[in-house]
């Protein structure tokens, strides 16, 4: 596992690096002193894990995540901002309070997921007003185009992400996500039932009750995939 440490304080970075000596499975690929450096290192090193401080000059940890296409696994490190982190409702891997307790670090690392084989989009960061989420793609059941934005449906939430549906589609796993229409992409794992509509097109009902009507052309493609 290759990790990046992002913190504006040298002592904080050094201390975390010392603590990570106890975890040889974690290789420190780099250290960044601010958001700009972190963006560059994430693009260059493609780390599996980022230790991320929230309060940094220039760009906060949240702002940094917003600028990433694909979000690596994130462990937040902070002195006192646990309230800010609680704004994360979905899938923040963990957070560590400074000074970091070695056993808390071990517990956070135990939650790490193995490195994915494909280079597909794994998770995205979404912010809606005061609330934000790191959403794993398999948890999203519907992506809906709204101009240059895309509405993500997952859990009971439906925030907008600042990316177009077409841009997202290129990075999605085609065995999991299906373009159901001009404005919708559905997650095949979340299909609850499929009905035949009047004009020969299919109506897909997703778990949770959302329905998507499909054109005849897309309907026949879906039939092939689902081998109906």
């Amino acid at each position: 596992m290759r990790a990046l440490i992002v913190d504006d304080e040298r002592l904080a970075r050094a201390e975390l690096a010392r603590l990570l000596v106890m975890h040889p499975e974690i290789e420190i690929a780099g250290e960044a002193r601010n958001g700009e450096e972190a963006l560059e290192l994430i693009a260059r090193l493609v780390p599996d894990l980022v230790f991320l401080d929230i309060q940094m000059p220039g760009m906060t940890g949240f702002e940094l995540l917003e600028r990433l296409d694909d979000v690596p696994q994130v462990i937040f490190t902070t002195a006192y901002d646990q309230y800010a982190i609680h704004a994360f409702e979905v899938n923040a891997l963990d957070y560590l309070l400074k000074p970091i307790a070695p056993n808390r670090l071990a517990a956070a690392l135990a939650k790490l997921r193995p490195r994915p084989e494909s280079s597909r989009l794994e998770q995205v960061f979404v912010r809606d007003g005061d609330r934000c989420w790191i959403v794993r793609l398999p948890d999203i059941f519907l992506l809906e185009s709204e101009g240059n934005y895309t509405r993500l449906h997952f859990g009971g939430e439906r925030p907008l992400i600042r990316r177009s549906l077409n841009a997202l589609e290129e990075q999605l796993d085609p065995s999991l996500f299906f373009r159901a229409g001009r404005k919708e992409i559905i997650n095949l794992k979340w299909i609850d039932k499929v009905d035949i509509g009047g004009s020969g097109g299919l109506t897909v009902t997703l778990r949770g009750g959302l329905t998507v009507e499909m054109s005849r052309r897309q309907s026949s493609r879906l039939r092939e995939i689902l081998s109906l």
Binding site: D8, E9, R10, L11, A12, A14, E15, R18, R33, N34, E36, Q55, P57, G58, A79, Y80, L97, K98, P99, I100
Partner: protein, 333 residues
């Protein structure tokens, strides 16, 4: 002690003048009989005793404020009836059938008059004490307000400092030791401040130096500190935590927001009997902040208002890439 003296003076003078006047008027009517002299002298004594008992009873029950008026006046009226009974009883003992109070035409109005006097006593008592209670409450509120504003240590600072020290324990043990001592000083300064609402500027400067040493360990070469202190300003009394809050503010909104860090200047001077205390830092007043005053600075403004009643002030100004917070405090009353 002062209030209890005033209370007894009022009790004795009040009842003496009332009983004295009554005695003189009665003597004009019926002459200086035993009934009149002894009756009114005794009335003077037991009125003091009974109203004193009334006061003690009311205070023990904690009957205070408008919601208790009914009980207060009922108690006063009952006390008045006891006095009336004593007046009539004593008249009868002294004068027997000749007592003026035993005539049915005067007994009832007399008793009502006597109890009305005691109800009047209660009105005066409440008027005097409620004014005092109000002032005491205002003072207590002001005190509480000040205590609340003499802010506690910032948890961000505390935990970040502990994290820096933890990092330094292996890397630079002497510096780690020094910082632990300085952190102890800061905690002590926060916890064991004397009861007063001002401290000499010198103590504030010491505390701020400890504070800045800890922040320097954290920000390293991103924080560059300069002092320009006029020695004559050191003994001047200032509100506690004033300088630390200014410095904290300058770091939080100035230095910490700059990736390359900046300079922080602490300056004190005497200008025509006014202490001028200034903390200047590299940086700019953010757009949205000029409209929305910062919390720490608001706190300082509030305390200056309570302590100096408008004669002290805080200004925040920005020029040439630097932000300066300036406090002016009068040194003469």
């Amino acid at each position: 002690m002062k209030t209890i003296h005033a209370y007894w003076t009022c009790q004795i003078l009040g009842w003496a003048s009332y009983a004295g006047l009554g005695m003189w008027m009665a003597a004009q009517r019926v002459g200086w009989t035993t009934e009149v002299t002894v009756g009114y002298a005794l009335y003077f004594l037991y009125s003091i005793a009974l109203t004193h008992l009334l006061r003690r009873y009311v205070n023990q029950r904690g009957w205070v404020g408008a919601s208790q008026y009914f009980r207060l006046f009922l108690a006063a009226w009952i006390t008045g009836l006891v006095q009336a009974a004593l007046v009539i009883g004593i008249s009868w003992l002294i004068a027997g059938q000749r007592s003026t109070f035993l005539e049915s035409s005067t007994a009832a109005p007399g008793a009502i008059g006597i109890s009305c006097v005691t109800v009047g006593w209660m009105v005066v008592y409440l008027a005097v004490t409620s004014g005092r209670r109000y002032r005491e409450k205002q003072l207590a509120l002001r005190e509480a307000e000040l205590r609340g504003l003499e802010a506690q240590i910032n948890p961000h600072f505390l935990f970040n400092s502990l994290n820096s020290i933890r990092g330094l324990v292996l890397e630079n043990p002497p510096l780690a030791q020094d910082l632990i001592t300085r952190l102890a000083n800061i905690l002590r300064y926060n916890l064991h401040r004397d009861a007063g609402h001002t401290v000499p500027l010198d103590s504030e400067l010491e505390a701020a130096a400890d504070y800045l040493a800890l922040e320097s360990a954290r920000y390293e070469d991103r924080l560059r500190i300069r002092y320009a202190i006029d020695p004559a300003t050191r003994p001047i009394a200032v509100p506690p935590m004033l300088l630390q809050m200014l410095v904290e503010n300058a770091i939080k909104h100035g230095i910490a927001a700059l990736p390359g860090g900046g300079e922080l200047l602490v300056r004190s001077a005497l200008e025509e009997g006014t202490l001028v205390l200034q903390v200047e830092n590299t940086g700019q007043l953010a757009e949205e902040e000029s409209g929305r005053p910062r919390l720490g600075l608001n706190n300082i403004r509030e305390r200056l208002r309570i302590l100096y009643a408008g004669r002290a002030g805080l200004e925040l100004a920005s020029h040439d890439g630097r932000v300066a917070a300036t406090v002016r405090i009068p040194t003469r009353p």
